[in-house]
């Protein structure tokens, strides 16, 4: 038998000598320097430089050559004739005159001044010229076809029987040629270019003549507007949408290498263990890596955009690719913004994958399917007629659809904001997951499956979730909440069913889910979700604030609307108010207790369990009490902005204020119960006044949504909130109410 040592047995109860060592705490503000180190390391690596500089320098000129070849086939076909459709016979004559003039001017370009440039379309005495006199070197004159009406013209255009449809319309009192083209058809683009080239030169010469003669004439002779229509056929792909997709691909390329190098590379180089042995939260380490990857990805995107723009302009491809003139500076800036968001999300996803890998090779093997998967939404968005409003919650797809809508100039701001918000939430979730996986035992010491680390139960109970754990839980709940809300609205349920289901989902998502997480990860429920009966001072403050704080929230809401912090314009607001009135009629068919239980008490109890329990505890353990209070309140406010069927930005400030009060209650009382009381009372009062609004109105107590509250009410509320604060922070409250288990 092996002899057990005769070592001096340490006595756990023995006093430990006080240490002289001062432990400096990690400061989040040094995150910048950590990021800088990661960037320095990445940017000095020649593999990054190749992706960042050489790739764009080589790819775009080569691509432009290929495009040129492709476009030449369509645009310079020699004897191909442009087919132009008209609705009115009258238009044909005017159009023909101008095109022939342009044709002649083009073929004699460089000559001094033509003598027979026609007067404006609207001007009397318009000259006509002989069609036979124009002879271009490469283009034959177009063929004209008549269509019965505008619809038939579009149908013929889509069928490819005509290349461009022409119609004279009135715009601001001036006759204008509306040139309808199909943006996915090379022939149509070619036809458009044929006409535009000729109109332009006619206008230009006319302008010169006008300037010379000081003539004042309304409009140009060949005033025109482009009108784009798109084919639904699967083969039709607009080049203007393909380009952002190429940019997306290049951004991905830029992010991949640093993501692998900064995570799996740490393990391969043997630096990971020393890094994990440092007293720094994993989320901080991972955040520094994340920012570095995003910056490199964005730099790659910028380099690519510059290379692409220079190539497109220098090679003269712009006029073919963007005959509609979409390549404006605004669009470029918008696309850059979206690329930034895309890079942010994609980098986070990359880090999740590469954090699990133990070597470069392993990471590359994981990434190939992910890259294929990330291209799929782009392809889907090109061929289908998907709407952003419906698909805003699908990552990557939402960004591509938003980019498409921006380029086409018909982006819906509401859906755009939703797409951006959901992407930000997914990004947070991915960073949190990556932080949990990065440097996990299995990755560090080479065990078989490191995904298990996500669900690893610690050997001993711990006092609360980690920062990444609580943020991860929040990020999982957001999309589920949206999904359930959306589904319920589509199901056409009765009010009773809707309220019951909403109550059940509140319990499942905000209460049961954190409890399950506590049990699964051995988090002490007494510390994470403290439901102990509080001291009476906590309860008293909760009741006082619950009865009155909503009045301040109401005033802040009105102030927010006054300041213009609203997502709804007046028309929509009126619509919504009318909708609320209708809702109230339906509500009153139900007993008040059902509404209070499902809409006031259940959400109050459950949201407290999550926001002031699970989320607050995770934030508190990794940051400070004050930042936990602030961040949990801000997230609570943000949650109420996006929780309804429409975005209500004006709810942010009042909900954040309530969050701060609720957090203070939790902090001072050490229990969630006072917050639940306050939250339920506050919700209950608002709902009850709405329920009885007509009766209150009749009794002269009514308050409309957009009205200020009477001054006496606000005075009472101020006194009550002050009294609550005095009770909570005064001598009556027990001293040691703050949670003593502040760790790390």
């Amino acid at each position: 038998m092996i002899e057990q040592s005769e070592s001096p047995e340490p006595d756990a109860k023995e006093q430990v000598p006080a240490t002289q060592f001062k432990v400096p705490r990690f400061r989040w503000r040094s995150l910048g320097r950590l990021t800088l180190k990661e960037l320095r390391e990445t940017l000095r690596d020649r593999r990054t430089v190749v992706t960042l500089v050489l790739m764009p320098l080589l790819v775009y000129p080569l691509l432009s050559l290929a495009f040129h070849r492709f476009l030449l086939l369509y645009f310079e076909p020699g004897e191909t004739i442009v087919h132009i459709g008209f609705v009115s016979e009258d238009d044909v004559e005017v159009f023909q005159t101008l095109v022939v003039r342009g044709h002649r001017l083009l073929s004699s370009e460089g000559d001094d001044e033509p003598s027979d440039v026609p007067a404006p379309l609207t001007a009397p005495g318009m000259e006509t010229g002989g069609a036979d006199s124009a002879k271009s070197s490469s283009d034959s004159l177009p063929e004209f076809l008549m269509c019965s009406d505008a619809d038939e013209m579009e149908a013929m255009l889509l069928a490819g029987r005509i290349d461009v449809g022409v119609q004279v319309i009135k715009s601001d009192g001036i006759s204008v040629f509306e040139l309808t083209y199909e943006d996915t058809s090379p022939n149509s683009l070619r036809g458009l270019k044929f006409i535009v080239d000729r109109f332009r030169i006619v206008n230009e010469r006319f302008g010169r003549r006008l300037a010379r003669q000081f003539l004042r004439q309304p409009g140009l002779p060949a005033e025109f507007e482009r009108k784009r229509i798109s084919s639904d056929s699967p083969g039709g792909v607009s080049l203007a949408i393909v380009l952002p997709l190429i940019l997306v691909l290049m951004t991905i390329t830029g992010a991949v290498y640093p993501a692998i190098d900064l995570t799996a590379g740490e393990r391969e180089r043997g630096t990971l263990e020393a890094l994990i042995a440092a007293p720094v939260p994993r989320l901080a380490l991972l955040s520094a890596k994340y920012f570095a990857v995003v910056i490199v990805a964005q730099l790659t995107a910028i380099m690519n955009l510059i290379a692409m723009a220079v190539t497109v302009i220098a090679s003269g491809l712009a006029q073919y690719l963007f005959p509609g003139g979409e390549f404006s500076l605004l669009v470029v800036i918008q696309i850059m913004g979206l690329l930034f968001l895309f890079a942010g999300f994609f980098s986070a996803v990359l880090l999740v994958i590469t954090s699990v890998a133990r070597s470069f090779k392993e990471a590359q093997a994981y990434l190939i399917p992910i890259m294929m998967l990330s291209i799929a939404p782009g392809i889907v968005s090109l061929v289908g007629d998907l709407e952003l409003a419906q698909w805003y919650a699908v990552p990557l797809l939402n960004m591509v659809l938003f980019a498409r809508d921006l380029i086409e100039g018909n982006a819906d701001p509401m859906s755009g904001v939703k797409a951006i918000l959901t992407t930000v939430v997914y990004t947070m979730a991915a960073v949190a997951v990556a932080a949990r996986l990065f440097g996990a035992d299995a990755v560090l010491y080479g065990a078989q499956s490191s995904w298990k680390d996500l669900f690893r139960r610690p050997a001993q109970p711990i006092d609360g979730p980690s920062l990444s754990g609580s943020v991860g839980a929040l990020a999982v709940m957001f999309p589920i909440f949206f999904l359930i809300g959306g589904l319920m609205r589509q199901l056409e349920l009765s009010k009773l069913q809707e309220f019951t289901l909403a109550g059940i989902f509140s319990v499942l998502l905000f209460a049961l889910f954190p409890v399950v997480l506590c049990l699964a990860f051995r988090l002490r429920i007494s510390k994470t979700l403290p439901l102990r009966f509080p001291h009476w001072t906590g309860l008293a403050a909760g009741v006082l604030w619950g009865l009155t704080a909503w009045m301040f929230a109401h005033e802040i809401l009105i102030a927010s609307q006054y300041l213009g912090i609203v997502m709804l314009d007046e028309e929509k607001l009126a619509e919504r108010l009318a909708g609320i009135e209708q809702e109230l009629v339906k509500w009153r068919e139900l007993p008040l207790i059902v509404i209070l239980l499902s809409q006031a008490i259940a959400p109050a109890v459950c949201e407290e369990i999550f926001f002031r329990g699970f989320l607050y505890r995770g934030l508190e353990r990794s940051t400070s009490i004050l930042s936990a209070l602030l961040w949990s309140s801000l997230l609570f406010g943000a949650f109420h902005v996006v929780s309804g069927p429409v975005l209500t930005l004006e709810r942010f400030l009042p909900s954040t204020l309530l969050g701060l009060l609720l957090g203070t209650l939790r902090l001072r009382s050490g229990s969630l119960v006072p917050g639940m009381v306050m939250h339920a009372l506050s919700n209950g009062l608002i709902l009850s006044t709405a329920y009885y609004s007509d009766k209150l109105q009749a009794a002269g107590w009514g308050v409309k949504d957009a009205d200020h509250l009477p001054m006496t009410w606000l005075l009472v509320a101020t006194l009550a909130v002050g009294a609550g604060g005095a009770i909570l922070f005064g001598k009556l409250a027990p001293r040691a109410t703050m949670d003593p288990n502040k760790i790390e």
């Binding site: 005769e6 180089r269 020393a274």
Partner: protein, 275 residues
């Protein structure tokens, strides 16, 4: 001071539970160099990783200056200077940048970092290659940088895992001098090594690990007294021979422990079942 009490860790490998560290207890006081010795696979590195909080213990605990690793992991990490067997460095950073990075990780105030680097230069003569990229350093230079990195935050406790691995005589001498220095300035040190002749030179007390258990513990004289052997090498050979007899295994000690990583233990479940 480092306190380890009843520390136990097992791993699941191919569905089998392997006991890597089995209820070990010891204590290291300031100014002591504790040699945690044993063949590859004895459980030394796993023990160090548990003290550092990189691996959770199944039972038992480790404390550094009164802070328990499982509860106050960052307090513990901040008090430890860790030199791992792997001297991996960030190849694109200069030595100075690397030291600044670790100073940041350990919260050393920016204003102090320059002075600390100067002091480390006096100790390890790293000044000549401070501005050189890490990728250009020789093995000995890399080891000196790794030792300097572990001292940048001036911790009261040092954990060194096979610090002379791959070093020649001159390189090893630098490590010995380093350990001597940190002992003199009152730090509590644990050195893991399987090079017993080196351990004899530098350690003040020893813990001899085998098959996850602490077989003998004490000063060199105390261990000699217990085992009636003169050198650590003889003590170990005797220990391995005795365990082989106990376990009735035909495999040699060399076969049994010639594993690359610490926690991958002998294949047969019997091999790890003691007493």
């Amino acid at each position: 001071m480092i306190t380890v009490k009843q520390l136990t860790k097992s791993f699941q490998t191919d569905g089998q539970e392997i006991l890597a560290v089995d209820q070990i207890s010891f204590r290291v006081l300031p100014g002591e160099v504790y040699g945690l010795l044993g063949p590859n696979g004895a459980g030394k590195t796993t023990t160090l990783r548990m003290i550092l909080g990189l691996l959770p213990a199944d039972s038992g605990y480790a404390e550094v200056e009164g802070f328990r690793t499982t509860v106050h992991s960052n307090e513990v990490k901040a008090r430890i200077g860790f030199v791992s067997a792997n001297t991996g460095l960030y190849q694109w950073l200069s030595v100075r940048e690397l030291l600044h990075f670790f100073a940041d990780l350990y919260g050393v105030p920016q204003a102090e970092v320059g002075d600390r680097i100067e002091r480390l230069d006096e100790l390890f003569s790293i000044g000549q290659f401070l501005n050189q990229r890490c990728s250009t350093l020789s093995t000995g230079q890399r080891q000196r940088v790794t030792l300097a990195r572990a001292l940048i935050h001036d911790p009261p406790v040092m954990l060194l895992d096979e610090p002379t691995l791959g070093l020649d005589v001159v390189g090893s001498q630098v490590v010995f001098e380093y350990i001597q220095h940190v002992r003199e300035i009152g730090k509590a040190i644990i050195v893991c090594t399987h090079r017993l002749e080196q351990a004899e030179r530098i350690c003040t007390r020893f813990g001899l690990m085998h098959l996850g258990r602490l077989a003998y513990e004490g000063t060199l004289d105390e261990v000699r007294e217990k085992t009636k052997c003169h050198s650590l090498v003889d003590i170990f050979l005797g220990l391995i021979e005795r365990d082989e007899k106990t376990l009735g295994e035909s495999t040699t000690a060399g076969d049994q422990f010639n594993m690359a990583t610490d926690h991958i233990e002998p294949d047969s479940p019997e091999a790890s079942g003691h007493d």
